[in-house]
Subunit: 388 residues, 2 copies
């Protein structure tokens, strides 16, 4: 397999945005091309991740082609990749595969979603289509419900406190406030979290990621085409790993076995361990999720995630900065765009261009995205390790 | 890039079927594994193509994981690939890419769709989501309307007759009647076509592909893993090509430039020309489509497609047998499954196992699938050349 570099990133602001999904996607794609210093005609293949837009807007098929036409990218293979909340990460992964295979030298990975074009109740119904509609969502088992149960069990088993769980929201909102692309640019305190509306006990409104619109993109190039194409500083894809759940109903719900397995693959392929990761973007769709993922990714022992965030270790100056973009929680969660938003953040950090959120001496970063939830397990976890 | 072989194929019958999409997909996947002589644990990565099921059943996300769990395939990367009516072909292509890249040795490509779980009017509305919902389907420009206009123009420019267009339906129904997996297993005559209900002048009901349920699958293996894995006779992927439309509104509507471009790539990469193709499965969503694709694939001159089918050249004993499976027209069109159904037919033919539909001395076959329709052009064309 050939070495692949990211040479361009682009992203809209995430949030409740007035533009159509194709406008958002085109803006992110244009930014990524401009950042890479290449033109539309250089792109040889494109993968577009979106998940729920069809159910919301009706444009189920071909939104990638319609979007890229506005950027002047026509004729080339454009393929939609979908894996619930990990759709954008899967688009990046397929783009990486297309270049590493030798089939193409220059690929565009695009993620986009338009979640706010409907009532919140409809958005909830649409999100429930990422669980088993026959066995789970039809029973009322929505995502807040799932993660509420997980939070209760984590507290019971490991003594994780309400304050530790809230610390994730407080931290991520603080970084969101320092990120001009974030959905929420306001700091919050413990009292705000505890006073917010109960959603699924013990999770309150400020424990939950928002419905966001947005798009993000990345340009990937083969090592041998790099120098002739662009002067952009490359960020290398050290490894790409993807897993699905094992549907083991007896497995503990306080961890995600498929994150553990994907992380093992990602570390092995990159020839490193979790101690070598300088910063991570993890899938904090709910506050408790960040705590659990930080354990499953090996940043602390199982059960120690609450104490990890409380200790300050996941702050920008800590041992393992996590979600210093603001994360899904504050940066926002436009489903198909989320995974590519993580890639954009890691690349910006590894280039030293993250401004007030810059992690000192960041040379290796990890992006972790999770999609779907089936029978006490997730449908998809995708991990990428990037480095300079 | 590494050489990749197809070693197993599977398919349900296509038609109006009682089973849920996950049952259909699992049956096809199981058949493909059995045909390859391998077990579920050998599969390292899976791609699942489906397009419109989310809009019909609500299971937008993760249907691939839910399906493969029933086959005992868990834990591995499972990614949905979507590109309207070419979704199954794109799933096959990504599986080919994953193996040719060296990332995996054994891949499963699965395509499935459940179209009949709703009223026909809703199915039409859902299918219109494969055009530009803002500019096209909102104006009433449905697929029958598009192909009706194309048929009129083709007749005007090239003298294509009503009888020649009907000959496609008559031929494909005759082969469908010889294919136990086909949706329609009844022969029809010219008078049946001409007496059938008008849909979009000049296209009548028997000029139109049906709404079908079904699933099809293929197992792909790297050349170096082949001998240690299975005794199955390999069918090699000689080339894979994919294009999108160029949105050139001035282009003639009597041909698909993106088929021409994809065919050129597919032939070049395989080191052959159209004269070397022993049989082809082409995307006959409407009768006129087969005529046009047979021209754009180089099986005859532009404008000669009507005379080609009339001459008998596309029969099983003709110069270039086309859609001897019955095609979308008679075999059926379960959107996401269609492309993999074509692969299954080509593989069966190249192995010499197609029974009464067997093309003599078939050594090289071509599968052509088209998805979506935007602004006088298609959204996606995927071509695979297979050979023994």
């Amino acid at each position: 397999m050939r070495e692949v570099a990211v040479v361009g990133i682009g992203s809209t602001r995430f949030g409740r945005l007035p533009d159509a999904i194709t406008r958002l996607g085109a803006a992110a794609a244009r930014d990524a091309l401009f950042d890479a210093g290449i033109s539309a005609s250089h792109v040889e293949v494109a993968y577009c991740g979106y998940s729920l837009t069809g159910l919301i807007s009706g444009q189920e098929c071909g939104a990638g082609q319609l979007t890229l036409r506005d950027v002047g990218i026509v004729g080339i293979p454009v393929t939609r990749v979908e894996n619930a909340c990990s759709s954008g990460s899967c688009a990046f992964r397929e783009a990486w595969m297309a270049v590493s295979s030798g089939a193409y030298d220059v690929a565009l990975a695009l993620g986009m979603e338009k979640m706010t074009d409907c009532e919140t109740s409809r958005a909830m119904e649409v999100l429930s289509c990422a669980s088993d509609t026959q066995l789970e969502s039809s029973q009322g088992l929505t995502f807040p419900g799932v993660f509420g149960m997980i939070a209760r069990r984590h507290s019971y088993e490991f003594g994780t406190t309400r304050e530790q769980i809230a610390a994730v929201a407080i931290k991520n909102h603080r970084y969101g406030a320092a990120n001009p692309k974030a959905h929420f640019q306001m700091e919050i305190g413990l009292e705000d979290v505890l006073a917010s509306r109960m959603v699924a006990d013990p999770l309150r409104l400020l424990d939950c990621g928002p419905m966001s619109d947005g798009a993000a993109a990345a340009v990937l190039v083969s090592a041998n085409r790099l120098k002739s194409l662009t002067n952009a500083r490359p960020v290398w894809v050290a490894s790409s790993a993807q897993t699905s759940g094992s549907y083991d109903a007896r497995a503990p719900i306080t961890g995600f076995d498929l994150t553990v397995r994907a992380a093992k693959q990602a570390y092995e392929r990159a020839g490193i361990g979790p101690e070598n990761i300088d910063l991570a973007e993890v899938h904090d769709c709910f506050t408790i999720a960040e705590i659990i993922h930080s354990e499953d990714l090996g940043f602390c022992q199982k059960g120690e995630g609450g104490r990890l965030v409380e200790s300050g270790a996941t702050e920008v100056t800590g041992k393992i900065p996590i979600n210093v973009s603001g994360g899904l929680k504050a940066k926002g969660h436009p489903v198909g765009a989320t995974g590519l938003g993580q890639i954009a953040e890691i690349v910006a950090q590894l280039r030293g261009g993250a401004g007030p959120r810059q992690v000192p001496q960041a040379r290796t970063g990890l992006a972790h995205c999770m999609g779907g939830f089936f029978h006490a397990d997730a449908a998809s976890v995708v991990i990428h390790v990037l480095r300079v």
